[in-house]
Structure formats: C-alpha cells, structure tokens
C-alpha cells in the first residue's frame, strides 16, 4: 500500500461501512474487504485442518469429522451453511477481484475526455463491468448452492 500524506483515515474501520450517497462500487469495496478477511480466517484454519491428510486415513477422517456432520442433522446443516458462506465469499471476491485488476491496469475506464456538461466520469464506463462480474458471481453462487443444498441434502 502506498503511504499518502494529507488524507488521514479519520473514520478508521467505520469508514468502510459509512453509507451516504456512495456509488455501487464503493459498497463492492466494503464487501471485498469483509469477504477477504473472512476468506483469510477460513484459509488459515483450512491449512491446519487439511494437513491431516499427511498422517493417513484415520487422521483425515477424524479431522473431517470435526468440521462436518451427517446430512439432515443440525450439526450437518451448520457446517454445510458455513462452507457455503465461504463459497459465496469466494465467488464474490474472485469476480470482484478480476474487476479491480482490470480497472487497476487501466482497462474499461474509458479515455480522458473534456469536462463538458453533462459530465461523465470513469464510473459510467466501469459500471457495466461491475454488473457483469456480479452476475457471473451470482451464477457461480447458484450453481454451488445446488451442489451444497440440493444434491447433498439427501
């Protein structure tokens, strides 16, 4: 991250969440951070939990038993729903991340233009990409949801 001068982060963490008349992309930014932190927490635990495969079948079954439950039970539903949340976070973070990378590299932000009324900003150029990426994330989410809740529910 670049160190900047003259624009202190006075709102701190609350600055992520503040509402007002922010655009769609600003809320994607907030969600990107929240999903990123959630995915990081899960990933650190995932490294430890899945390392059991190095110790053989019994250790693997024990480790998986700690983070799952039989279908149709409250414990099973709890872990399935939790895992689906991680999948949802991945779907959003991945496609929004592609949008951010494209914008960072200067794609889909339009060419510089004269500030002639009615004014247009690069946001006008970026918005379709944001919508397409969110639709892609939604399709992936629905597909995964079928796998999580329809196929494995019986």
């Amino acid at each position: 991250m670049l160190d900047t001068k003259g624009h202190p982060n006075r709102l701190g963490v609350w600055g992520w969440l503040g509402g007002g008349r922010w655009g769609f992309e600003r809320y994607l930014y907030t969600l990107h951070r929240l999903t990123g932190l959630g995915l990081l927490l899960y990933f650190l635990l995932h490294i430890v939990v899945t390392s059991a495969r190095a110790s053989g079948a019994a250790a693997w079954e024990t480790s998986m038993g700690r983070v799952s439950g039989p279908p149709g039970t409250a414990r099973g539903l709890f872990f399935t729903a939790g895992e689906f949340l991680v999948f949802a976070a991945f779907a959003f973070h991945a496609f929004n991340g592609i949008r951010l990378a494209l914008v960072e590299l200067g794609f889909v932000i339009g060419r510089p233009i004269e500030p002639v009324y009615p004014y247009r900003t690069s946001v006008d150029e970026q918005r379709p990409l944001a919508i397409v990426m969110m639709l892609a994330a939604g399709i992936l989410l629905a597909t995964g949801g079928y796998n999580f809740f329809v196929h494995y529910s019986h």
Binding site: M1, L2, D3, N9, I47, R53, M64, F87, Y146
Partner: protein
C-alpha cells in the same frame, strides 16, 4: 517503490489464485455437475478421492503454488488494512515482521503436508 512492487505482486497473486482456487472450488464444490478428478460416486473429501488427487503431481504442485500465492495475497491485504488504522512506525514494523514470519511458517507447514500426502498416496 517497494510498496508498489509488493502491490504488483499482490495483484498477480490474485490472478494466480483466481485460476488455481477456481479449479479447487470446481473440484470440491461443483463435483455433482463437473465430476472432475473424483472417483465416481465418492465425495471429493472421501479419503479415496484425496488419495487419487494426491497421487497426481499436478495437484501437489498446484496446492503448493496456491498456498504461497494465497498466503501472500491474504496477509499482504491484512497488512494494508491494519496500516490504514493509523499505526505508528514501530507498530507497522512489528505487524510486517509478525505477518511475514507467520506466513512463512504456514507455508512451510502447508507445503510439507501437501508433499508428504503425495508421497504417502504414491506409496499405497
């Protein structure tokens, strides 16, 4: 300059994660539709499925690359968020060292697990 270089690596690591984690998610969570790399009729987390993937060198290598890319991407992202909270110079240095050492330790542990599981699967 160093921060710009790290930020570029952060973006590149994100692209690597998009591909490799996308494959991992497809194998693990779209199995009923795609059925990639899973013996027929078995869940992706069944021990037999784990063994089958572990026997494939591609998975061992891709897990280790994904592990490194995701640890860097995630911990560098966390570092940026923490830095935005107005930490002092000393605290920033401490955060950087703790995250770098923690990330390196987890990478060694995770890579060992992936490599050992591959060797175990091939010996069975």
């Amino acid at each position: 300059m160093r921060d710009q270089r790290l930020w570029t690596w952060h973006v590149l690591a994100g692209l690597v994660i998009f591909v490799l984690l996308g494959l991992h998610m497809a194998v693990m969570h779209l199995d009923t539709l795609l059925g990639w790399f899973n013996p027929e009729g078995l869940k992706p987390i069944a021990w037999e499925s784990v063994l089958q993937r572990a026997r494939m060198g591609f998975f061992t290598i891709s897990y280790i690359v994904l592990l490194g890319a995701a640890l860097f991407h995630g911990l560098y992202g966390l570092r940026n968020i923490l830095f935005e909270l107005g930490l002092g110079r000393g605290a920033k240095g401490l955060v950087s060292v703790v995250l770098a050492l923690g990330g390196a330790g987890l990478f060694v542990f995770g890579a060992w697990a992936a490599w050992t599981a591959g060797a175990l699967a091939r010996s069975l």
